[in-house]
């Protein structure tokens, strides 16, 4: 999933895919522990949504060791699977397999929306969570300075400015796996000037929110036909911005493009903390290894 150093010139942006796709996705997380562990309580956000841009046709959730699974919708309407494994076990596998039909954008072109459209108090209230600081994205001095760099003038049009911010990130930040970790905050990304998609998403959220654009973190997958041999896939992260008169629209800062029918959405939230794919606690000795295997394939 390395997007840089490809053969196309970095100044051109690919056109969005409009062809609807039927995709099968498997996301396996395997924990191996230092010794037997027990009392493992976990939540998983792995089920793709069904909305106007995609339909989740099938979803299977498998655990090894087997355990009872409950589900509930969280505050952002993400489907959360809750399970606990009481008995001692030395490894835990969580696998989600889904079949998703992505649909083309049917809402028409994005209308122009000037900055004044963002000042509507009802908008401010309804999307309060997506306009303010959150755990990974605190809107402090570092983020503010970077936001001013990204958009030196005032806002002109919400979507164009969103794209401009995306371009800014592409120009100034390097995609570099292992340069950050799962806990890296937005302001740290600014310091390091590199990261992976989770970091770019957080960074972009910081810049968008500083400019008053309601924006949320999206967790999901995308079809990557240009996979290199041996390349590992993982789940992907991008942002969605709220466009007055239109609704939520996705932009992927890692690939410097708007999202299209290659993208499958699982969950939304303020930042990573709201969409953790798998998280929880357990008792015992620590984790020796965590392996994540994701595959996204077209169903022919």
């Amino acid at each position: 999933m390395i997007p840089q150093s490809d053969t196309t010139s970095s100044s051109s942006v690919e056109p969005p895919w409009i062809e609807p796709l039927l995709l099968t996705i498997s996301h396996l997380t395997r924990y191996t522990y230092e010794g037997p562990v027990q009392d493992s309580f976990n939540e998983a956000r792995l089920q793709p949504v069904t909305d106007q841009l995609q339909q989740c046709r099938e979803f299977r959730f498998r655990l090894d060791p087997d355990a009872q699974v409950w589900d509930y919708p969280d505050f952002y309407s993400n489907c959360v699977h809750y399970f606990d494994v009481q008995n001692p076990h030395e490894s835990l596998e969580v696998e989600a397999v889904s079949v998703v039909q992505t649909l083309p954008e049917s809402r028409g072109p994005v209308p122009e929306a000037g900055p004044e459209s963002l000042l509507d108090p009802r908008l401010q209230e309804q999307y309060f969570d997506f306009l303010h600081s959150s755990e990974f994205v605190s809107l402090g001095a570092d983020v503010w300075r970077e936001a001013v760099d990204a958009l030196p003038g005032s806002l002109r049009d919400v979507w164009s400015d969103t794209v401009a911010i995306g371009e800014h990130i592409h120009r100034n930040y390097k995609y570099s796996p292992l340069s950050t970790n799962v806990n890296t905050r937005a302001f740290e990304v600014i310091k390091r000037k590199q990261g992976v998609c989770q970091d770019f998403a957080h960074l972009m959220l910081g810049l968008l929110r500083t400019h008053g654009i309601p924006s949320r973190y999206v967790s999901g997958y995308f079809l990557n036909p240009r996979k290199f041999p041996g390349e590992i896939e993982a789940s992907h992260a991008w942002v969605e911005v709220f466009l007055p008169g239109f609704g939520w629209k996705g932009y992927d800062p890692t690939h410097r493009r708007q999202t299209d029918s290659r993208y499958v959405k699982i969950a939304v939230g303020r930042d990573y903390a709201d969409i953790r794919p798998v998280g929880g606690t357990f008792r015992g000795k620590g984790t020796r290894e965590m392996v994540v295997e994701v595959s996204v394939q077209r169903v022919s």
Partner: protein
């Protein structure tokens, strides 16, 4: 004799209407204390202090691994409230907690009060303790706040004002009970003749309340109620242990509980015993590492899941912190009006919100004259006492307010009422006036009960307005009489 040299000065004094006149409800108390001499006072004080040590009503100061236990300094002179005054206070407190429970229900359901623009929504959405996870969640009997400790003060004219509501894990009820026991032992005749309304039923009422909110799935079976504490290293541990003993319920820590199949159990020597209601003295954030703070060792993994599944009740419910917020305090009079259609019986202290532009200007210009508080701190921390602060402190607060106005409120300093208190000064020992407040405890269950009196806290340092135990405060017994004198 001991009270002869007492100077009420220019404050509302609880006992003295003026230097020469004792208020009628203090008549018997004044008479009794006048017959005391220094030696007898010292004897009684020592006996009382020792008794507190023995009962373990202490708080722990951990500056070495020994953990020194200190008693919360106790003053022998009770604070007295005549029945007619108390009736009004009681009504006002019941009104307040009723409105706040309705408010919390609304905030976590339809949010009508926000839609009707009575409170600007961003105050709630941006509140530190607003728990999004519990939107739409139905708590047993629709009770969010089971136990509330509301702090009251009196201004120079003697009017009672509400200073703040404590409705996450209010503490101090154990002191209230122990103070009463101490005073009964120290002055049995005085107590008898004064005809004081009892407070001893607090534990019984609390237990009834906890049983009342047992999960509906339990039906009519007797619920198993436990008290959950952070443990022996928490400074309020002795209150937890004390209350648990008084109620006859087990006291547990997070590690004693385990969740199986979305139900909560205690690990006992006889096996896993089901737990139905938890009186938790642990803040929301630390309750369940799977949902809230992952680093919390005090909580129980899976507890929120059990709560959400309706298999266990928590008192107070998760999410009450949003009403504890000092900014929401500002809106309480409006809240009372909105849900009950009544004017508040007990007024708030006049408050300014730093996040409202007109107020902010006023606050910034008058920092040196105002008391500024952080919206979510407790225990007297995060507070600026303008008239007594240094220039650096004032400037530091100015910066903080500028950076995060939503987090600050300001009030004019109220010249709190004072009460004769035994003091040790440079000029020897004697009764001097010290500022006091009052924390009554309200239990909201099948019926709402307000324990007559509550905890009177005293700022022991001369001139100080800060009454918290960790910052040099002490306490007194509070007597609500059956009559007015």
């Amino acid at each position: 004799m001991l009270l002869d040299r007492y100077e009420p000065e220019d404050f509302f004094d609880e006992m003295f209407a003026d230097k020469a006149t004792v208020r009628p409800h203090y008549g018997k108390i004044a008479d009794r204390f006048q017959t005391l001499d220094q030696a007898e006072h010292r004897r009684k004080q020592t006996a009382v202090d020792l008794a507190f040590m023995r009962s373990g009503v202490t708080f722990t100061v951990y500056n070495d691994d020994q953990g020194t236990e200190r008693i919360f300094p106790f003053d022998l002179v009770p604070r007295v409230i005549p029945d007619s005054e108390w009736q009004k206070i009681e009504k006002g407190l019941i009104q307040r907690i009723t409105a706040l429970n309705l408010f919390l229900h609304d905030i976590y359901h339809g949010q009508k009060i926000l839609k009707d623009r009575v409170i600007p929504p961003h105050y709630i959405l941006g509140a530190k303790h607003f728990r999004r996870e519990f939107m739409g969640f139905n708590v047993p009997k629709d009770i969010y706040i089971h136990i509330c400790g509301t702090d009251l003060i009196r201004d120079r004219c003697g009017n009672y004002l509400v200073l703040e509501d404590n409705l996450r894990c209010p503490s101090g009820a154990s002191y209230m009970l122990e103070n009463r026991a101490a005073l009964k032992r120290a002055f049995p005749d005085l107590y008898r003749s004064a005809r004081v309304q009892p407070v001893d039923n607090y534990a019984t009422e609390l237990r009834k309340l906890l049983q009342h909110v047992s999960p509906p799935s339990l039906g009519t079976s007797q619920p198993n109620v436990v008290l959950m504490t952070p443990g022996v290293f928490n400074s309020a541990y002795f209150e937890h242990a004390f209350l648990a003993r008084q109620m006859g319920i087990p006291i547990v820590e997070g590690r004693d509980l385990v969740v199986r199949d979305a139900k909560v159990y205690m690990r006992t020597t006889s096996g896993l015993v089901p737990v139905d209601v938890i009186y938790r003295r642990i803040d929301d954030d630390f309750l369940d590492p799977t949902v809230f703070r992952p680093d919390s060792l005090l909580g129980v993994p899976g507890l929120v899941h059990a709560y959400r599944s309706g298999n266990v009740s928590l008192a107070n419910s998760i999410g009450t912190g949003v009403a504890d917020d000092k900014v929401v305090y500002y809106f309480v009079p409006k809240i009372i009006k909105y849900y009950l259609g009544e004017e508040p019986i007990l007024p708030n202290v006049g408050t300014f919100l730093a996040s409202e532009p007109e107020d902010r200007g006023f606050i910034m210009e008058n920092l040196g004259k105002l008391v500024v508080k952080s919206a979510n701190e407790a225990g007297g921390y995060g507070m600026l006492m303008g008239p007594w602060a240094s220039k650096e402190e004032i400037e530091s607060f100015r910066e903080q307010i500028r950076a995060n106005p939503r987090n600050f409120i300001a009030q004019h300093p109220i010249s709190l009422s004072r009460h004769p208190t035994w003091c040790h000064g440079d000029s020897g020992e004697g009764f001097e006036g010290r500022h006091v407040d009052l924390r009554p405890y309200i239990l909201f269950g099948e019926k709402t009960t307000v324990t007559p009196g509550g905890l009177t806290r005293v700022a022991l340092r001369k001139g100080s307005l800060v009454v918290n135990s960790s910052q040099g405060g002490g306490s007194k017994d509070t007597w609500v009489l059956y009559g007015d004198s």
